[in-house]
């Protein structure tokens, strides 16, 4: 009860966001419908932003929502909707042996987290610097410049790689689309093509 005597509003906020994050994370893996999983992941991202706020890292919190919830998850949802995946196909047979791996891997993960917690200690107590834009930028462009630049190169590689893979498979399709678009840009061709579609 002594611990409860020291409770503050920020602790309540932490509890609320943390439990929301855990519940939503379970929702991500337990739902069969991919769109529910995606929405669960969005909730996880938003509650993580809330947790960053309780650590007075406001810049990271805002970026967390803008980048993950605002941009990446929109693309996830977009793809799920575009392909119209309604229910996950039952793939239980294919993953028969994976579930035996799940328990030891989960225990290993817990072990890693516990070990990490012991070495880091309480992150909120160890740094009193608020995560404002200036502080984050100063850290990023002085002490951590090399990791920052290396990460940018990594992301660039990912972009180039995905572009290459996408273009190689659908080079013919792209050509077809481009010719169709060029034809559509000429006013007479538009009417012809739309008429063709009607007849077809």
């Amino acid at each position: 009860m002594e611990q409860f005597a020291q409770i503050q509003v920020s602790h309540l906020f932490f509890l609320a966001f943390a439990s929301l994050a855990v519940v939503a994370a379970f929702n991500v893996i337990l739902q069969r419908n991919p769109i529910y999983s995606a929405i669960g992941l969005i909730v996880v991202m938003c509650s993580l932003a809330g947790l960053f706020l309780t650590l007075s890292a406001e810049f990271i919190a805002a970026i967390q929502i803008i980048v993950y919830a605002g941009a990446i998850m929109v693309l996830f949802v977009f793809v799920i909707m575009l392909l119209n995946i309604r229910e996950e196909d039952a793939k239980a047979d294919r993953q028969k042996y994976l579930k035996f791996l799940a328990v030891p891997l989960f225990l290993a993960l817990i072990g890693v987290v516990m070990a990490a917690l012991k070495t880091i200690g309480n992150p909120a107590a160890s740094s009193n610097v608020p995560g404002t834009v200036e502080n984050v930028a100063e850290g990023m462009f002085t002490n951590y410049l090399l990791p920052f630049e290396a990460t940018s190169v990594l992301i660039l590689m990912a972009i180039v790689g995905s572009m290459f893979l996408a273009r190689r498979e659908s080079a013919e399709d792209t050509n077809e689309i481009e010719t169709a678009l060029n034809a559509a840009n000429q006013p007479t061709a538009v009417e012809e093509s739309s008429e063709e579609e009607v007849h077809a």
Binding site: Q6, S10, I39, E58, F78, N84
Partner: protein, 384 residues
């Protein structure tokens, strides 16, 4: 538990709540009359009368509409995904509303009429009750709060608003709604880039992301030190001209992206009537439709507020030093101008085709915004 109660700053929380309620009512009234103004102005543009029966010149029309929306039958179609269908309007409206805590309505430390009396009364009353508050209402700040990442906060919240539309499109289980939702997600992700990059030019001039601070920097020079006139160097001849160029380019990029971001004409592809019936809200009726409608108008107000604060000096204007209460009037006046611009464009421009929309966003606006950042940075280094 006493530490829990001690850790709450009750006067601050209460004050913030009162301000939120006042600002919320203000925004709701602005939105209601923006709808009315839209119908009347469009009517003038199209040579007809518009709603003019309910009250004098139809001024009570928004309330009549609201009552109608509340009392209409709330239809939930059979084949929809019930939970998401009900949630979608809420997901759309809540982030839109959350932004209003950083609106800079007016200058700091506005003298409040009767503030002396209020301060005395509240302090006496709380002393009698044994709370011992020490509030000071002689002057007020016309913003709920301000923080280091105000603009990023606005972008984060408006970015979340897209889920309302996407989820509505998906949950409705209708091809028109789905197409509307798809279009909306693609369009909003594309134009968000132009929107946020155009703001960078202003941030380079201001050197902060705090919205109230950016507005405060634009005061001075007779209240006309607006960012599109060169910001802090306004009125210094060539210097202000040089700083004004990237600001003006950024202003137009921002304006175009903002219109696309709020799904308004000529970028209203997600609800294109001729192709998609009503787009993502085809299956919605009654109060749920009204929530989408309100969210759209609140978002319009938000981008207008941002345009006002970032480019047009926010609450700054002539004689602001003499009469500080002109601040909120200037601010609302500028916001109304942008809302009028929305209506004006709707009455004037045709809708873009989808590939035109995407090409314009990615191949023109994004490179232009990137170029403008480089220009602004170069000029800022040369001038300062």
């Amino acid at each position: 538990m006493s530490s829990l109660i001690n850790s709450i700053d009750f006067p601050y929380v209460l004050g913030a709540l009162i301000k939120v309620v006042i600002f919320w009512i203000t925004i709701m009234i602005i939105c209601a009359y923006a709808v009315y103004a839209e119908r009347r102005v469009l009517a003038v543009i199209q040579n007809r009368l518009g709603p003019n029966r309910v009250g004098w010149q139809g001024l009570l029309q928004p309330f009549a509409d609201l009552i109608k929306f509340i009392f209409k039958e709330d239809i939930i179609p059979m084949s929809v995904n019930r939970a998401l269908y009900v949630c979608a309007p809420i997901i759309s409206l809540v982030p839109a509303m959350m932004v209003l805590i950083v609106y800079p309505f007016g200058p700091d430390n506005l003298p409040l009429p009767g503030g002396e009396f209020l301060t005395q009364t509240i302090n006496d009353l709380t002393t009698k009750l044994g709370l011992g508050w020490n509030v000071d209402l002689r002057s007020v700040n016309l913003h709920v709060t301000h923080f280091n990442v105000g603009i990023l906060y606005i972008f984060a919240m408006t970015g979340l608003g897209v889920y309302g539309i996407v989820v509505a499109g998906w949950a409705s289980n209708s091809k028109y709604s789905l197409l509307g939702g798809l279009r909306s997600s693609a369009q909003m992700v594309s134009y968000e880039l132009g929107l946020s990059l155009s703001v960078v030019a202003v941030l380079l001039m201001a050197g902060t992301l705090d919205l109230t601070e950016i507005v405060r920097q634009q005061s001075g020079w007779g209240g006309m030190r607006w960012n599109i006139f060169g910001g802090t160097s306004a009125g210094e001849g060539l210097k202000s001209l040089a700083m004004a160029i990237p600001a003006i380019i950024a202003f137009f990029i921002y304006l175009i992206s903002a219109i696309a971001e709020t799904n308004r004409v000529p970028f209203d592809l997600p609800e294109a009537e001729t192709e998609l019936v009503a787009g993502f809200h085809t299956e919605y009726s009654a109060l749920k439709f009204a929530l989408f409608f309100i969210a759209e108008y609140v978002n319009m107000t938000t981008v207008s507020v941002l345009a006002t604060s970032l480019f047009l000096g926010g609450w700054n204007g002539p004689f602001i030093n003499v009469f500080p209460w002109l601040g909120p009037i200037y601010f609302l006046g500028k916001v109304f101008f942008f809302l009028f611009l929305y209506i004006w464009l709707r009455g004037t421009l045709p809708r873009l085709r989808y590939d035109q929309l995407m090409n314009f966003g990615w191949k023109f606006l994004l490179p232009a915004a990137l170029f403008n950042i480089a220009l602004a940075a170069t000029i800022a280094v040369l001038v300062y």
